[in-house]
Amino acid sequence: MKKKEEKRKEATLTRRKLLTRTGALSGILLTGCDTQFYRPPIIRDGLMGVADILTMASQRLLLSEQQLVQEHSVSEITKDFPVWNQSNPEDEEYQRLRAGGYREWRLPVTGMVNQPVSLSLEELKRIPRRTQTTMHICEQGWSAIAQWTGAPLLSVLEAAGGVKNGARYIVIDAYGGWYEGYDMFDVVHPQTILAYGMNGKDLPLGNGAPVRLRVERHCGYKQIKFIKSIQVVSSMEGFGRGTGGLNSDYGFHWYAGA
C-alpha cells in the first residue's frame, strides 16, 4: 500500500510540475477528461469506430490522473530481450550515421513549437534523464522487462520552446520508413521518454539505436525505434493515410492501450 501511495505522490508531483510549466506548454491540456483524448485521429466506419472510442475513452478516464506504470526491480530484467520489426534499417543515411557512431545524428524538433531545434545525442543526454524498469507488452502476446534511460519527451519539447496553441499530436519519423503519431495525453506522461540507454548501456542496434520512444501505456508497436525526427502538428492529415501512424494505416488500432 505504501508503495502505491508513494507512486501516486510521485505522479501528483510530476503533474504539478507540468502545470507550473504550462507557460511553455500552453497548448497542452493536462486532464484526461478532455474529449479530444477519447478518439483516434480518424474514427473508423461503423461499429469498429464505436468500439475504438469505447476502449479509448474508458481507458483514458481510468488513466486521467496520469498514473505511472508499474516499475520492476532490476533483478527482473529479461536477458535476450526480443527484437521484432526492423532490426537494422536499410537506409543509406542511417548506415552512414551508424558508421560514425551516431556523432552526426541530429533530432530535429519542428512544427508547432516556439523555437525549432535540432538536438545532438550529447545535447539529448544533457537533459535531466529518467531511468525506468518497465514491462514491454507486444500485441502479438509476448512480454519482457528492460530498464530504459532517456530524456522525457516533455523536456525535449520544452527545449524547443514549448508547443503552440492548437498543437494536438506529435509525429515521430523513423529511419526505414516507419512513422507514428501520439496525442498530448501521452506526450505529457512522466514515463514517456526518448530512450538512448537500455539496461545501463547504450541502446543496442536491434532495439532502435541511437534513440527509441518509450510510451509505456501502449503495446510494443507504438514504441517506435530508430528515431529520425519529431514534428508537432494540429492534425494527422497528410501523414500516410491520415490514421495517425504506419500501424494504424495498416489496420491496427491507433490507440494501443488494450
Partner: protein, 240 residues
C-alpha cells in the same frame, strides 16, 4: 385441440432470448478472433515475461503445427479488431442481461438452486438421468434442473467475469490503471495462459450445451429460445 394449446409453456423472457443470441454470436466471434490472434504467437508461458525462446508451458509446435504453419493460418490484425469489437458487444449485452435479471429477481427464482435440489440424492438422480440421456417430465420441464442451474451459475458468475478480468490483465494500460490486478494473476503471461484455459472451459460448456439441446429436442429447444414458448411432450403431459 384444446389439449395442444395446454402443452405450451412460456419459458424464456424477451430479455433472456435476445441476450442469449447476442452472447452466442459474440462467443463465436470472440473465440474465432482469439484463435486468429493466438495462432500468430502459439505458445503459452507462466509468470511475468515470456517470448519466443523463453521456456514455454505450452507449444502448438509440440502438437504437430509448426510456428510458421500456425502463423500462416492466423491473422491478428483482423483478430484484434474483431476481438475488441465483440468484447464490447459481449460486455454491454452482459450488463443489460445481469441488470435486467437482478431487477426482476429472476436469478433467485430461476437459477439459484433450492436447498432441496442440492441434496445428494437429487444430484445422483439428475446425474443418472443425464447419463441416460433421458428427457424430463412436464413438471420439471418448467424449471432448470440442478446440474443446469449450477453450470449456468458457474458460466455467468465465474467464467465470464474471469474472461473479462484476465483480458484486462493483459492490457498495457493496466500496468498503470491497476498493476495490482496483473500481480494478482502472478504476471501478464499467467493472465494470458489462464485466459486461454478459461476459453477451453467455455468451449467445453458450449459443446455440452449443444449436446443437451439435441437430446432434449433441438427444434423445440431452439424454437423456445426464439419465440419463448416451449412445447411439453404430449404423452408426458397426459400422464400428469
Amino acid at each position: 385441440m384444446n389439449k395442444i394449446s395446454k402443452n405450451w409453456i412460456y419459458r424464456h423472457s424477451y430479455n433472456a432470448r435476445i441476450c442469449h443470441w447476442v452472447t452466442a454470436v459474440s462467443f463465436v466471434y470472440l473465440l474465432y478472433s482469439g484463435i486468429m490472434i493466438f495462432l500468430q504467437f502459439p505458445e503459452l508461458y507462466w509468470g511475468k515475461v515470456g517470448f519466443q525462446g523463453y521456456p514455454a508451458i505450452f507449444r502448438l509446435s509440440d502438437w504437430g503445427l509448426s510456428w510458421e504453419e500456425a502463423d500462416a493460418l492466423g491473422d491478428r490484425r483482423w483478430g484484434r479488431n474483431y476481438h475488441y469489437l465483440f468484447a464490447w458487444v459481449f460486455v454491454i449485452n452482459g450488463i443489460i442481461y445481469l441488470g435486467w435479471n437482478a431487477w426482476q429477481k429472476s436469478f433467485y427464482r430461476k437459477i439459484f438452486p433450492t436447498r432441496g435440489e442440492l441434496s445428494v440424492s437429487n444430484f445422483k438422480a439428475e446425474f443418472v438421468r443425464h447419463l441416460r440421456f433421458k428427457a424430463v417430465d412436464r413438471k420439471k420441464a418448467e424449471h432448470y434442473n440442478v446440474l443446469q442451474k449450477l453450470s449456468y451459475l458457474i458460466v455467468l458468475f465465474l467464467l465470464f467475469p474471469f474472461m473479462i478480468i484476465s483480458g484486462f490483465a493483459q492490457m498495457p494500460a493496466f500496468t498503470a490503471i491497476s498493476p495490482e490486478l496483473i500481480d494478482l494473476f502472478g504476471g501478464r503471461q499467467t493472465a494470458r495462459t489462464l485466459h486461454v484455459v478459461c476459453t477451453v472451459l467455455l468451449t467445453l460448456f458450449v459443446i455440452v450445451h449443444l449436446v443437451e439441446v439435441m437430446v432434449a429436442g433441438a427444434v423445440n429447444q431452439v424454437r423456445s429460445m426464439i419465440i419463448g414458448k416451449y412445447e411439453v411432450p404430449t404423452e408426458i403431459s397426459e400422464e400428469a
